[in-house]
């Protein structure tokens, strides 16, 4: 009883069994989609005491293409609520301000620092970067970026090239970026240093409208930024490396903050009117940055110093540092200390005096006044199976604005014109 000698029974069986074993190709499961991508995600809460609160979420996606090139995609979403200092000074009586849109007002209580709470803002930013190892010594990168919020659109490109020499101990880098920002302020651009129209000062809504419109300029304006960085990274010894960057940044266009104002006070320090701030339409900034990073008995230490100066006369020094200690192979703690001090811009003044001639440029925004800040942060991280990492940090940020030598007149001496501000930063991050 012979089997008929068929040659390819094996092949026929293989084909027949395929139909049986995988009748339908299952949809690719999600971890296939992410395979090959390294992903870093972070969620951060920034909260100031009774001022601004912000939530920021970042997703950073990185993929390696053979050994030489790498694509990096980043998406950032943040949303802002709360109130920020308008620039007006505190007064012994309550004050009324017109909202930037001209529709409605907000009242500030006696003795309070005037805060404008019209900011509910969400922003989305997308960026892509392509890094290419051209040869053993040369590496290049190019990138594009875009960011959109309801009154501000920003688009930019950047590129750079790096040359490593001396057995990869020294790396020279040059990179440049161009950014175009379009601003569409709520209620259009205020006419520089024009006086704010307050509804109560007018008999009719129509009269108020007319006066308000006189304080309005174009609906939008833009500014362009050219950034250049020259960098040198040098390995010092088996444990330490150093990085030196010189940064040049030239900005031209609308640099005024459309929502900031200055109080105009009389000799008794009492606000008579409020004027919209005006800043120069160009700014040339230099920065010198030096970083040392090293391994000390298994722990990672980095300390850096930055010197900034610009033609607005803001000079600043920044001391920053982290100390990371590994309690075990997969658990570490990290300390973050930062100290920053800056001088005031030449056109910064906390208020204007009635009767004195109006300067060409003036701003009472404390952020370009004289100020020192320090940050104290702690962070913990767990290295998990499969190269995942979970980390969380908590930081306290204290700003202490200072009087840059302006004589306080009348009742202003009773008020805190340079209130300090504390903020908390809480962040959780996961990478896989």
């Amino acid at each position: 009883m012979q089997l008929t000698h068929k040659k390819n029974i094996a092949q026929a069986l293989a084909i027949a069994s395929c139909g049986l074993v995988n009748p339908v190709a299952e949809a690719a499961t999600d971890d296939r989609f992410f395979s090959g991508w390294d992903i870093d995600a972070a969620l951060m809460y920034y909260g100031e005491q009774d001022r601004v609160q912000a939530i920021e979420a970042i997703g950073d996606f990185q993929k390696q293409y053979d050994d030489e090139s790498q694509l990096n995609l980043k998406v950032v979403f943040d949303s802002l609520t709360g109130a920020s200092a308008s620039g007006a000074v505190a007064q012994s009586q309550h004050q009324t301000f017109t909202r930037p849109s001209g529709d409605g007002q907000y009242i500030v209580g006696a003795g309070d620092t005037p805060l404008d709470d019209s900011f509910k803002d969400t922003r989305l930013q997308l960026s892509a970067n392509w890094i290419e190892q051209l040869s053993l010594e040369w590496q290049s990168n190019i990138g594009v970026y875009g960011s959109r919020e309801f009154d501000y659109t920003s688009l930019g490109v950047n590129g750079g090239i790096e040359r490593s020499l001396n057995k990869d101990n020294t790396t020279l880098a040059i990179s440049a970026a161009y950014t175009y920002d379009l601003l569409e302020p709520v209620g259009a651009k205020p006419v520089p240093l024009s006086a704010m129209a307050i509804r109560q000062d007018f008999i009719s809504e129509q009269a108020f409208r007319q006066a308000f419109n006189l304080t309005r300029g174009d609906d939008s304006d833009d500014k362009q930024t050219l950034d250049l960085i020259l960098g040198l990274t040098q390995i010092i010894n088996a444990n330490w490396l150093m990085q030196f960057n010189y940064g040049l940044s030239s900005v031209a266009g609308y640099l005024t903050d459309p929502y900031k104002i200055l109080s105009v006070v009389d000799n008794s320090g009492t606000s008579q009117q409020y004027r919209y701030e005006h800043r120069p339409d160009s700014r040339l900034k230099h920065s010198l940055f030096a970083l040392a990073k090293g391994v000390v008995a298994g722990d990672i230490v980095d300390i850096s110093y930055r010197y900034n100066s610009d033609d607005w006369d803001i000079n600043s020094h920044t001391f920053d540092g982290h100390y990371r200690h590994y309690f075990s192979d997969d658990f570490y703690g990290q300390l973050h200390l930062r100290y920053y001090l800056q001088s005031a811009a030449e056109f910064y003044q906390p208020f204007l005096l009635m009767g004195s001639i109006l300067p060409e440029y003036a701003s009472a925004d404390y952020r370009i006044g004289e100020m020192t800040t320090y940050t104290f942060g702690i962070k913990f991280g767990h290295k998990l199976k499969g190269d995942h990492e979970l980390s969380y940090r908590l930081e306290w940020y204290q700003q202490t604005p200072k009087n840059n030598g302006t004589a306080l007149v009348g009742q202003l001496q009773q008020h805190e014109l340079f209130p300090s501000l504390t903020a908390v930063i809480a962040q959780v991050s996961y990478s896989f």
């Binding site: 870093d40 972070a42 920021e56 970042i58 950073d60 950032v76 920020s84 900011f119 930013q125 970026y145 919020e149 009154d151 501000y152 920003s154 930019g156 001396n166 990869d168 101990n169 020294t170 990179s175 950014t179 920002d181 601003l183 950034d227 960085i229 990274t233 390995i235 010894n237 088996a238 444990n239 490396l241 990085q243 940064g247 940044s249 903050d257 459309p258 900034k285 920065s287 010198l288 940055f289 970083l291 990073k293 391994v295 990672i300 930055r306 900034n308 610009d310 803001i314 600043s316 920044t318 920053y340 800056q342 952020r367 800040t373 962070k379 940090r393 940020y397 700003q399 930063i425 991050s429």
Partner: protein, 71 residues
């Protein structure tokens, strides 16, 4: 004349750089992930964004631009 001397000096400093540094096989610490200059890049970019919107100067480690109104 001045230019040539500067150029000469520059070459010397670069030459000097070659005395700093380690041999390729002594770089085990620099292979560590946490020793990379862009390590914790999300924390760095979040910090940059906060300080850009809260202080008068920015940049240094990276570009100075902020890309936001940040009023």
């Amino acid at each position: 004349m001045k230019l040539k001397i500067c150029l000469g000096l520059l070459m010397l400093t670069l030459g000097g750089c070659s005395s700093l540094g380690v041999e390729p096989w002594q770089k085990q610490h620099f292979a560590r992930e946490d020793m990379a200059l862009n390590h914790e890049k999300l924390d760095l970019s979040l910090d940059d964004h906060i300080y850009f919107s809260k202080e008068g100067s920015s940049g240094g480690r990276a570009f100075a631009g902020g890309g936001c109104g940040c009023n």
